[in-house]
Symmetry: C2
Subunit: 274 residues, 2 copies
Amino acid sequence: MTTEQLVKQIKSKKSFLCVGLDADLTKIPQHLLNAEDPVFEFNKAIVDATHHVAVSYKPNIAFFEAYGIEGWKSLKKTIDYINEKYPEIFTIADAKRGDIGNTSKMYAKAFFEDLDFDSITVAPYMGKDSVEPFLGFEEKHTILLALTSNEGAFDFQTKTVDGKELYKQVLEISKTWVNSQNLMYVVGATKAEYLADIRSIVPDSFLLVPGVGAQGGSLLEVCKYGMTGNVGLLVNSSRGIIYASNESDFAEAAKAEAERLQKQMQDIMIDAGI
Amino acid sequence: MTTEQLVKQIKSKKSFLCVGLDADLTKIPQHLLNAEDPVFEFNKAIVDATHHVAVSYKPNIAFFEAYGIEGWKSLKKTIDYINEKYPEIFTIADAKRGDIGNTSKMYAKAFFEDLDFDSITVAPYMGKDSVEPFLGFEEKHTILLALTSNEGAFDFQTKTVDGKELYKQVLEISKTWVNSQNLMYVVGATKAEYLADIRSIVPDSFLLVPGVGAQGGSLLEVCKYGMTGNVGLLVNSSRGIIYASNESDFAEAAKAEAERLQKQMQDIMIDAGI
């Protein structure tokens, strides 16, 4: 998917909501455990209930790998279902991969070719040649970790490197890489005030913003500092939507919560004249 | 596996060789492609041919995920085969994972419980709470990326952070984390001269050293700067061993190359009085 197609969808749905698919067998409604593939059935129900207000789905790969071969089957069924039924929706493999060149190339093949995701999250620690193999795919996007939403972000990411915080170095240096136009960045919502600085380095790039809701970030703050003329944001909510209820009404509850967030986003977009 | 058991195996085999299992269908002997599971058949042959001189196997997870569900099945069969037939051998999931706490916990479950690896490689960028979920498993080891063997290592890892290179900050800060006794570190062989500095920070920790062979590192240099009284090193060779031949004699060629490296290691251990 091109960035233009993503922007078009955002403007048409008046939404920049990404729904994180982190299905945990201990947390999903227990009646689903009788299904042949509970994780897929859960994801399918969430997707069907929220696709009209979500522009992106973000399966969290750990939550599939934890169930081994069965989990990988659920992942394949989930991404195939989204790609077939809702092809306009931007898909993110939240995988946080990154390795030496020939290995990153295999991860790119796994997520861009075999599973046909539109994008993947990638860790920057190993530098240029660990990220460029992902960037070479046309109409695919690499979402590089810049400033994450967890407490451990302060261990290294915000430390000063050559006069500038590490996450800013990641932003600046990554702009020099081949096919950097295919880069997006992860920026946690719990640090919305950092977004103004980030926008001074990457004024137009899309930012994937986790941490609204369960992790305490504010949507208004994120938009105040991070929104561009094309919105330029994908705001993710995982647990707040998918576990809005853990009873048989979970899909309806997810729908209501997704619609509530979309309404806030719509108001913000209207206020911003987008 | 405990560190003591690993050291015992190293001393008994007079070897600290780790064999990387990066089976690529375009590179393995083409007669294997007729097998039901070519990746597993290749790995099994390599393991059977080298187990007497290898103390560790390191399946590179990307090379399995690139083949989707079939790849995950090959991974499961490969690790089960090693664990059943050669339980004394230390297994490493070269996965380079790392995410927020509840997600890292799922990755730990995937690799330590479902697949029963002895260890996993983990990226440090997201800090303490992204690594500690791995450290909580008894008799399991977390191999944190410190200084990798690729060119991109110089993009961020060797940059100065608060007066000290980032990879040294990673070493120092990680020592303060809960269950840090379960940490090992990845240190690339292409930068052997850095090992003296690294040993001043982590004098006793095991180091996983990739980059000997195909990537140009020298075994002697690595040992000169990095070896401890318990060896403290796992030196990995992947392509140099597994692709020593791509004809029907590939297993014999892998055996010969693994034995050649073990002989060098034995000489070094004898010289060091271990």
